[in-house]
């Protein structure tokens, strides 16, 4: 019979958030905990029978028994069976707080070898394996097979999918491939490690393996929705779907410029670009595009300081080009010749990285010629 599950991972509670100020980092840590509790509420509301937590629940070295108690208080109130597979950030080292705490009876934490936990009432077997070090190089899934394919077999695992073409061939984080998932024979793989939710294996409309992602984004490279996967898994097929839960988002917003001379003007553009409610809520990466005055010094710290009054948190990047009136650079002058040479090189170059170097070279040269200094951009 189908089993109702909630699949979550990568909470990273007690993260340092070193990129944020002290108060903001503390706020964010609190928000992670609140999101965790929302997930527990969701599991109760959905009457989930099994809760699969695929690792990186906390940062080893920053979490102690208090955090375990926090987890366990939530777990002990649930009807669901809770399965935890420690990841590379919360490995089950011998001094891990996982082992020094007396967990509620409905909680099971996996160790370094594949283990099967039978749930006779649900006619289901949950397999799992946990990190016991910060790194696991061996492809431990390669030789794993479920014992009885007639049962409903679930696997909870923290690992790195190396099936994608851009993935590194070797990995320190329990590498596995899609073919290994298929051979293992389980009906659903609850994966953790990547922070953005991703379906790894879908068959006939049924999600067989997926990364739930972190329920809250943790950096600017984690834009988009974050949450958990929830639904039914069964021998006839799985009906799980993504549930968004994040309270804040990381967002990238381009801010087109039109020849601004001063940082305050750039700040005004950014403020006008984003509605206030969103500015107060989310993390913004503001990328200034278009053109700015060639003499404008793009002082990131100063600009972020100006914007701090208007944004909950933001980071600025400069992708704006200094606006030069190329037509004013007569080729009979050295400036004109310089500009013409580099523009000709730019037109001939096809590699984007090299193009950017040439472009920057042009700007630096003109800065040196026009302004007697190289402007910080």
């Amino acid at each position: 019979m189908p089993v109702k599950i909630v699949h979550a991972a990568d909470f990273h509670l007690e993260s340092s958030f070193s990129g944020l100020s002290g108060a903001m980092a503390e706020l964010r840590r609190e928000e992670l905990k609140r999101t965790f509790l929302r997930i527990m509420d969701l599991a109760e509301k959905e009457e989930a029978q099994v809760l699969l937590l695929a690792g990186d629940l906390f940062e080893h070295g920053r979490a102690g028994r208090e955090l375990m108690h926090f987890f366990n208080q939530a777990f002990s109130k649930m009807q669901a069976k809770v399965f935890i597979a420690p990841g590379n950030h919360d490995p089950g080292l011998t001094n891990s707080p996982y082992w020094s705490y007396q967990w509620s009876e409905n909680v099971h934490i996996f160790r370094e070898k594949f283990e099967a936990v039978h749930l006779p009432d649900l006619e289901c077997v949950v397999y799992g394996l946990g990190f016991t070090h910060f790194a696991v190089k061996d492809p431990l899934l390669a030789n794993f097979r479920v014992a009885d394919r007639k049962m409903l077999n679930l696997v909870v695992l923290h690992g790195e999918d190396i099936s994608t073409p851009l993935a590194a061939r070797s990995s320190n984080y329990l590498p596995f491939s899609l073919s290994e998932l298929a051979l293992a024979g389980a009906d659903y793989y609850a994966l953790g490690h990547y922070h953005r939710p991703r379906v790894v294996w879908e068959e006939g409309g049924s999600i067989r393996a997926c990364y739930s992602g972190s329920p809250e984004p943790l950096g600017y490279d984690e834009e988009g929705e974050h949450g958990v996967f929830c639904g039914f898994v069964g021998k006839e097929g799985n009906k799980v779907s993504f549930v968004r839960l994040n309270s804040r988002s990381y967002r990238t917003v381009p801010v087109p410029c039109g020849g601004e001379e001063f940082l305050e003007q750039l700040a005004d553009l950014a403020v006008q670009r984003v509605p206030e409610a969103e500015r107060r809520q989310d993390f913004f990466r503001l990328i200034f595009t278009g053109e700015v005055d060639p003499a404008l010094e793009f002082d990131r710290g100063k600009l972020e300081g100006i914007l701090a009054a208007h944004f909950f948190s933001c980071r600025v990047e400069n992708a704006a080009a200094p606006c030069h009136d190329w037509s004013s650079y007569d080729q009979r002058t050295a400036r004109g010749m310089f500009a013409a040479k580099l523009q000709a090189m730019l037109a001939e170059e096809t590699d984007p990285d090299e193009q950017e170097i040439i472009r920057q070279s042009l700007y630096y040269g003109l800065d040196a010629l026009n302004l007697g200094k190289v402007v910080e951009r």
Binding site: T132, H133, D293, C323, H324, T333, L342
Partner: protein, 921 residues
């Protein structure tokens, strides 16, 4: 190009100021702050506007500087001639209403749209008409007033401008300075990744540091992994040892509990025994003849056996008496059968058999008789129904036949339509006959033909179709024959009908009436019916006769049989059944009566036999009872004697006393022993203490199955060994965990290190890219510099010669721009080649002016020269020389010379009166 007219509607200090310019040299003279600079900027502004290059929203500071002081409007008009056309430029300078219009000077038609617009929305008419942009304009045709005030500064400024002009073509752009700036940036970045505190060095160092950290982390993890593995193995061992220890503890507890239970059980047993002994000892001894005990027991046993036997026999006698009485009562019911035996039974059965057979025969005859009577009745009824026909007789029947025949004949003869019907019938038959004949012939022919053709052309089997045709024809043939016969008959009748048509109607009528009368007498409707009934009448008569004869015979037989039966019945009843009380004389005998008789006789005989047997048993039983009674009396007397001797009334008392005496002696012996043994078992503990300990042990052991029972010494020895091993293992684990903890300290999470490393790589790449870009810029500027030197310097060299000679009045006749873009000249006094920068400020100034002029020539400037106080530092001689040059140049191009010194005015007035236009501001 020649400027014709300037209208400053509102610009700086000017309001509605009009300046008319002439060809050639225009000396715009006015004291300081008279507006010379304003007028120059007006010309620049009218041509190019005041927007900053590349920025449509930003304006040059000149826009603010030349806001009208007094006028409402900030605008002006400029008219100029280019080639053979004149143009009128109207411009509004205010940012809100900024607008420029280019009008054809002759027609004032707006031709603004004819000129392109840059992204600042600036109309580029000046670029098109002048062939240069504002930068080039500023650096060539507009020789501005020098800014420096001190002579040293002035010299430096001129030299710098000279160098810039030579090297960059723009006096305000210094390639060398730019290169220095880039060099400085590169220096700050760092030459290589090893360059310590530079950006590149720091970025590279960061990457290296993180790589080392990552490697260190991996190494540490490797070490930790081994330690962790050992730890896990030891923990598994510890778990097993602990399990063994728990098991041993349980065994020990169970053993101890067993011991305590045993002890308590033994103590309990002792207690019970002691209590019983104490209680028994209370009663004391009794006097009994111990030797008679066995005799008493024997006598009691015999007494018991005899009594039981006597009782048994009495019961049997009672049962027997009851049986005898019961048999007697039953026998009384069968006394009537006492006179009969088995022979009687046989005789009765035979007699009844005969009787029964006779009765069955009689019954059959009765049935037969009844049938015959019924047949007779039916026959009578039939006969009655046919009375009429009987009366008519055979004669009447013959007459009817005759009449019918005659009538038929007459009818046929009489009625003509009968012949018509016959004709029609004949025609139909003939037609049908013809059709059938045709069908037969056709089917025969067609079938045969088709069969042959298809058999030959398609398949031989289809030849059988001809056979089908033949068969069909043959099928029709009988029908054809029948129709022929019918036709013949109809035709015959038709002939007869034709003859009969003439018969008399009256005769027919009479005959019909006679026929009807006869039929009525017979009670029939037609002759046919009459015939039928006559036939029936004959049959009825015959049948009736037969029935009567048979009936008489049957009745005779029946009478004989009845008599025989009566005789037999009387015999049976009188001799046997009536005496047995089964029937009364004269009563009819049934099978049941016979059965009753046989059963009664047999039952009586059986009962008598049983009675005799029971008498025999009764007699035997009585004898045995007498014997047992005698035995009982003998034994009882023995018992009484012994009991009497013991002074007791009951055997139990005797035995109890006997036992008691024995028991008491033993008890006394054992009581002391029991107490001693009990004390030994308990030792120093009390029962309560042991019970409490047992309860605690049992609670600890719980509901689980009791472990195997072993000796406690063995268990304790094993426990000691296990606990030692446990302690050792714990110490090993603690050691390993300490090692792990120590190694983990200071090692960051690998994932965090890798994330930082990725970021550091990114930063390093960024620095490298910046370095590459700066290097490229540097290289390119150098290349430009070299090209300038290669391409521009020769041009400068060629052009500068004329102008230097002109400007210096022949003192210096040539100059050269060297590889480093330094202008060098030959000092006439010494013949030495010197850098111009090393010459006097005045000479440098001259060279600067000459170079500006050379540049103008070089670019083929179309615009008039604008000279703003270019000769401020010149002495009179140089001034005159320079003015002559300007006049010479002004003969080809319009020139605007701004000056606040009267020297220029006076010198010009002296050397070239009427060759210039003066405009006073």
């Amino acid at each position: 190009m020649k400027l014709d007219r300037l209208e400053l509607t509102g610009f700086g200090k000017f309001v509605d100021k009009v300046v008319e310019l002439g060809p050639g040299l225009n000396l715009i003279y006015g004291p300081n702050e008279s507006g010379k600079s304003t007028l120059q900027n007006f010309v620049r502004g009218m041509l190019f506007g005041f927007k900053k290059s590349g920025n449509r929203r930003s304006y040059d500071e000149a826009l603010q500087r030349f806001q009208p002081w007094l006028a409402d409007k900030y605008q002006g008009v400029m008219e100029y001639t280019l080639g053979d056309r004149t143009y009128r430029i109207e411009r509004n300078f205010t940012p809100e209403g900024e607008r420029v219009r280019v009008l054809d000077g002759a027609t004032w038609q707006d031709i603004t749209a004819d000129f392109p617009m840059d992204r600042r929305k600036e109309v580029l008419f000046a670029e098109e008409h002048l062939g240069m942009n504002q930068v080039v304009f500023d650096n060539t045709v507009c020789v501005r007033q020098l800014q420096s005030r001190s002579s040293d500064q002035l010299a430096g400024e001129i030299r710098a401008k000279l160098v810039n002009l030579v090297s960059a073509g723009e006096e305000d752009i210094s390639l060398q300075q730019a290169l220095k700036v880039l060099d400085e940036e590169l220096r700050k970045l760092g030459q290589s990744e090893r360059a310590g505190k530079t950006a590149l060095g720091l970025a590279a160092a960061k990457v290296e540091e993180l790589e080392r950290a990552r490697q260190a982390a991996l190494e540490v993890y490797g070490e930790i992994r081994a330690a962790e593995e050992n730890c896990r193995v030891l923990q598994d061992d510890l778990l097993e040892l602990e399990q063994v220890r728990q098991h041993l503890l349980r065994q020990d507890a169970a053993a101890e509990a067993g011991e305590i239970k045993g002890t308590l059980a033994r103590v309990g047993a002792y207690d019970r025994k002691i209590a019983a002994a104490v209680s028994a000892l209370k009663d004391g001894y009794r006097e009994v003849p111990l030797a008679e005990k066995d005799n008493l027991l024997l006598a009691l046993e015999r007494q018991s056996m005899a009594g039981a036997r006597e009782q048994e026999l009495a019961e049997k006698a009672g049962i027997l008496a009851n049986k005898l009485e019961h048999e007697r009562q039953i026998l009384a019911n069968f006394e009537l059968f006492a006179a009969f035996d088995q022979e009687s039974v046989v005789a009765v059965e035979n007699s009844f058999t005969r009787l029964d057979e006779a009765a069955q025969q009689a019954e059959m005859l009765e049935q037969k008789r009844a049938e015959l009577v019924n047949l007779r009745r039916v026959g009578d009824e039939q006969f009655a129904a046919l009375a009429g026909c009987d009366r008519l007789g055979q004669a009447g029947e013959a007459e009817v036949d005759r009449l019918e025949e005659e009538i038929n004949t007459l009818t046929l003869q009489r009625w003509p339509y009968e012949s018509e019907r016959l004709k029609l019938n004949a025609a139909n038959l003939a037609e049908r006959l013809k059709l059938k004949t045709v069908y037969a012939v056709l089917s025969l022919a067609l079938g045969t033909l088709l069969g042959i053709v298809l058999g030959i052309t398609v398949h031989w089997s289809l030849g059988f179709l001809s056979l089908a045709g033949v068969l069909f024809a043959l099928a029709l043939w009988p029908g054809i024959g029948q129709d022929k016969r019918k036709l013949k008959d109809v035709r015959r009748r038709l002939e007869e009908a034709g003859r009969g048509e003439e018969a008399s109607g009256q005769e027919l009528k009479e005959k019909k009436e006679r026929l009807q009368a006869l039929l009525a007498e017979a009670g029939v409707a037609s002759a046919r019916e009459l015939k039928e009934k006559m036939r029936q009448l004959a049959l009825a008569k015959h049948s009736r006769q037969t029935v009567l004869l048979e009936l008489v015979e049957v009745e005779n037989n029946l009478d004989k049989l009845r008599q025989r039966v009566q005789h037999e019945a009387r015999e049976l009843a009188g001799r046997f059944l009536a005496p047995a009380g089964i029937v009364t004389p004269g009563q009819r005998v049934s099978r049941e009566d016979i059965e009753h008789f046989r059963g009664g006789v047999n039952t009586y005989l059986e009962l008598k036999a049983r009675q005799r047997d029971l008498w025999r048993q009764e007699e035997s039983l009585a004898g045995e009872r007498e014997k047992v009674k005698a035995e009982l009396e003998t034994v009882s007397s023995t018992v009484q004697r012994i009991l009497g001797a013991a002074g007791v009334t009951a055997p139990a008392e005797f035995l109890a006393a006997y036992e008691s005496n024995l028991h008491l002696a033993e008890l006394e012996k054992s009581l002391a022993g029991l107490k001693l043994a009990r004390a030994e078992v308990l030792g120093s503990q009390s029962v309560a203490l042991l019970e409490d300990k047992l309860a605690r042990l049992e609670m600890a052991l719980g509901q689980e199955a009791e472990p195997e029972v072993r000796k406690r010494e063995e268990i304790k020895e094993e426990l000691r060994s296990i606990e030692e091993k446990i302690q050792e293992t714990k110490e090993l684990i603690a050691n390993l965990q300490g090692i792990i903890e120590t190694r983990l300290q200071g090692v960051n999470n690998l994932a965090n290190i890798e994330a930082e490393l990725l970021e550091a790589w990114g930063l390093k790449e960024q620095v490298i890219r910046r370095k590459k870009a700066l290097e490229l810029a540097h290289r390119t500027i150098l290349q430009v510099s070299q090209e300038v030197q290669r391409e521009f310097a020769p041009l400068v060299n060629s052009h500068i010669a004329n102008t230097i000679s002109l400007v210096t009045g022949g003192r210096y006749v040539s100059g050269r721009v060297d590889h480093d873009l330094n202008l060098k000249v030959v000092v006439p006094e010494t013949g030495e080649v010197k850098d111009v920068g090393q010459l006097s400020m005045g000479t440098v100034d001259q060279f600067y002016f000459a170079l500006r002029l050379a540049l103008m020539e070089l670019i083929g400037a179309k615009f008039p020269m604008i000279l703003d106080e270019p000769f401020a530092q010149y002495d009179d001689r140089r001034l005159e020389t320079a003015l002559r040059v300007v006049l010479e140049l002004a003969s080809k191009h319009q020139a605007l010379l701004f000056s606040c010194h009267r020297r220029e005015l006076e010198t010009l007035a002296r050397i070239a009166p009427d060759q210039y236009t003066v405009i006073n501001l």
